[in-house]
């Protein structure tokens, strides 16, 4: 994890410091929190911050829409393990953040959003660009508050960061009436022990005694399976997870946001589970006798019908958030703990297990079948059809599976999850919980700035791309090297797929007109290529990788390619639609 999560004591504590305006106190506080990059859009009520921004070592990325700023801050957080920051003005600016806040909330992403509001004397008077953003943000943030006094500013910002990153992380919104930013305060910045957060749930750290029970259950199990989620990466515990897998010889499946918990080439990596996960993984869930969920929510895209989920298993649920335990599935053992603490506690208790040959052979046999029946296994691309699995696979190969890959929502997201071949944590970013179309391009922008040492790719459908493509200009202005792969089927692909399978091919609003993306990029000054055949793929990927700044590839895909297998609404993991590609 990056060092961003620890405050820097640049300002020694004192009873009083030289007076400075609220806007400066905000910027000082950001610097103290280790913030280097902020994503924002100016407006009347936040101009006091922009007026002093130059005095601070803060790089400001001028986004083209506040939603882009929120997703970029989210992407920055996920790629670095730090806390991303977005700034917006009052009224429409603040409201435009909401989709990004909700996205971060659902996926437990730490983020601090700073909004301006009208001066205190005008609050509640329907002043120009006034809105009750705190009221709007309440259900989609971990915390939101309006800072009504300049003297509150230093504590408010420090507490916002602490709330955002502690326990189960999430987004925090701080709303500053303009005059609070303009008036002076002499209050110093607080040290961590001075924060006033009695209601903040912090996990008990250290040994986890319940690991005794879990170790016993593991010892008694014949067909155990770990289902690992985002919580493992939030806890920085992928090494511990891999070690537990080796020690206990238990295969590890992952959720969408658990991608990267395991190296997918690891013999103990079972793979991606759930609605469009691999059949062999879902079969394991249904056949295992012990299912250990670590840092996952057992959400509906994993379980399907809960009454038929993992029918043969004792179910264990480890989560740092007590309210998740027993929320969705029957739980035989619930453990409220940080995933890393639990895994470390397990390592202290687990003896080295013998290989579970029979169970792993079963996995291998199922895997062989499900891979052969997949699009990629079918080798449709060999017949000259440009299929999405081939494009994703080739991007994985070309980047040696080291790139940060940010996917959007829909078919492209599932293809990215299934075919890229991830090796490392923090390199797969996607809006898993909220399913926010338009996430990929702006989030990739944040990820590329947060982790510039890695190549960053956005994989996005032509629908999601058109939702936030205004950020192309941001990519150009700041020369942010995001490579955008548009999986262009001229369709809302997942809509088309549902209408084909569930709504008797009654297609409505699934066809999508889009601009000529290559000419669009030409207008922006972004190098772009188009590929329509499999044998063009490697070449255009190589071209895009050479670009010093942003680049785009418009992949014109087979229009009828569906994502299989598929779990239909209301169904369970045992009755999935698995259809061999035609």
């Amino acid at each position: 994890m990056a060092a961003l999560s620890l405050p820097i004591s640049a300002f020694p504590p004192a009873a009083q410091v030289a007076p400075r305006i609220g806007a400066r106190a905000v910027c000082e506080a950001l610097v103290r929190e280790g913030v280097t990059t902020i994503f924002g859009y100016p407006g009347g009520t936040v101009l006091p911050i922009y007026d002093v921004l130059r005095e601070f070592p803060l790089r400001h990325i001028l986004v083209r829409h506040e939603q882009g700023g929120a997703h970029a801050a989210d992407g920055f957080s996920r790629a670095t393990g730090g806390v991303g920051v977005a700034i917006a003005t009052s009224g429409p600016g603040a409201i435009n953040l909401v989709t990004g806040l909700a996205t971060a909330m659902m996926d437990s992403v730490p983020m601090v959003a700073i909004t301006g509001n009208v001066p205190r004397a005008l609050l509640g008077k329907d002043a120009f660009q006034e809105t009750d953003i705190v009221g709007i943000a309440l259900p989609v943030t971990k915390y939101a508050t309006v800072v009504m006094d300049p003297d509150e500013v230093p504590y408010a910002v420090a507490e916002a960061f602490e709330i955002a990153r502690s326990g189960r992380p999430g987004p925090v919104l701080l709303d500053f009436p303009k005059d609070v930013l303009q008036l002076e305060t002499s209050v110093p910045h607080p040290e961590p022990y001075q924060l006033r957060l009695p209601g903040l749930l912090r996990p008990t750290r250290g040994d986890v005694p319940e690991a005794d029970d879990l170790a016993e259950m593991i010892a008694a199990a014949e067909r155990p399976l770990i289902l690992s989620g985002h919580g493992v990466q939030i806890a920085g515990a992928t090494d511990a997870l891999r070690e537990v897998a080796r020690r206990s010889e238990i295969p590890v499946a992952h959720t969408l946001l658990g991608i990267g918990n395991m190296d997918e080439t690891d013999r103990l990596s079972a793979g991606y589970a759930g609605m469009h996960g691999w059949m062999h993984v879902n079969k394991m869930i249904q056949q295992c006798d012990l299912l250990i969920g670590i840092g996952c929510r057992y959400d509906d895209r994993i379980t399907g019908k809960t009454s038929t989920f993992a029918p043969n298993a004792r179910i264990v649920h480890v989560d740092v958030d007590r309210s998740e335990i027993g929320k969705n599935v029957r739980t035989d053992l619930g453990i409220v703990a940080d995933a890393g603490d639990l895994l470390t506690a397990l390592l202290r208790r687990l003896p080295q297990s013998e290989p579970r040959t029979e169970w792993m052979d079963q996995l291998a046999a199922w895997r062989k079948v499900s891979e052969a029946r997949s699009w990629h296994g079918s080798g449709a691309w060999r017949e000259g059809r440009l299929t999405a699995d081939y494009v994703v696979d080739q991007i994985g190969e070309a980047t040696d599976h080291q790139a940060t890959l940010v996917s959007d929502v829909g078919q492209n997201q599932m293809w990215a999850a299934r075919y890229f071949g991830f090796r490392h944590p923090y390199r797969h970013l996607s809006s898993g919980g909220l399913g926010t179309m338009g996430y990929a391009v702006p989030a990739a922008m944040g990820a590329a700035l947060g982790a510039p040492e890695r190549e960053t790719w956005a994989i996005v459908g032509d629908g999601g791309f058109q939702m936030t493509m205004q950020e192309l200009a941001t990519l150009v202005q700041d020369q942010i090297p995001v490579r955008i792969a548009v999986l262009n089927n001229h369709r809302l692909g997942m809509i088309r797929q549902w209408q084909e399978i569930i709504y008797d091919e009654n297609y409505h609003s699934a066809e999508l007109l889009g601009p000529d993306l290559v000419r669009l990029c030409e207008a922006y000054g972004i190098p772009a290529w188009r590929a329509t055949k499999p044998d063009e793929v490697a070449g255009v990927i190589a071209n895009a990788r050479k670009a010093p700044g942003p680049a785009l590839i418009d992949f014109h895909l087979d229009e009828a390619q569906n994502v299989y297998p598929m779990m239909l609404p209301g169904k369970g993991l045992s009755d999935m639609v698995e259809k061999a590609p035609e």
């Binding site: 309210s323 027993g326 969705n328």
Partner: protein, 189 residues
Amino acid sequence: MAAPQTLPAGETDAVHRRHVVSALVVDRPGTLNRVSGLLRARSFNIESLTVGTTHEPGKSRMTIAIRGDDGHLRQVLAQLERLIEVLEVTDLTSTPRIELELVLVELDPPRSPTAQHALRGVLAAAGGETLSEAADLWRARLTATPEIIDRALEALRAHGLRSLVRAGAVAMAADPETIPTNENGVTRA
């Protein structure tokens, strides 16, 4: 409302009943909004919700009376607990407790000594008394458990009940040995 999800083995979750929840919260603007918003998002209908200050500055106590399935509510209370403004949540439903509600009523003045005697009897049974006895209007208060209040209000309808204001329940966990013997304020779980 959707059926509750299954819960940790061995625990019943399908019991639908009235719950009394006590929450210690930070006394700040927005706290009530957060708490009620969470309950709304989960489609709970709040029977009553009272908020007041406590002996500690900066902290308020909420008493929430709410109907729901045990398991479903338990999960929601865990979600309540994780709100930054919420310091502590206790479900008092299965706990011996003192639970009282205050009601103010306006009544037609009784027309005969017999009626007056009967009215005073109803009030007394619900821990109440008259506050003013003008020729054209009586005002009274009741202080008792919500069940006793319900019964008393039903009885008061026969005595010319004109209007009423209910405060909602306030509750406090109590050691069964020390629960007051005055049955108006006692709820033994």
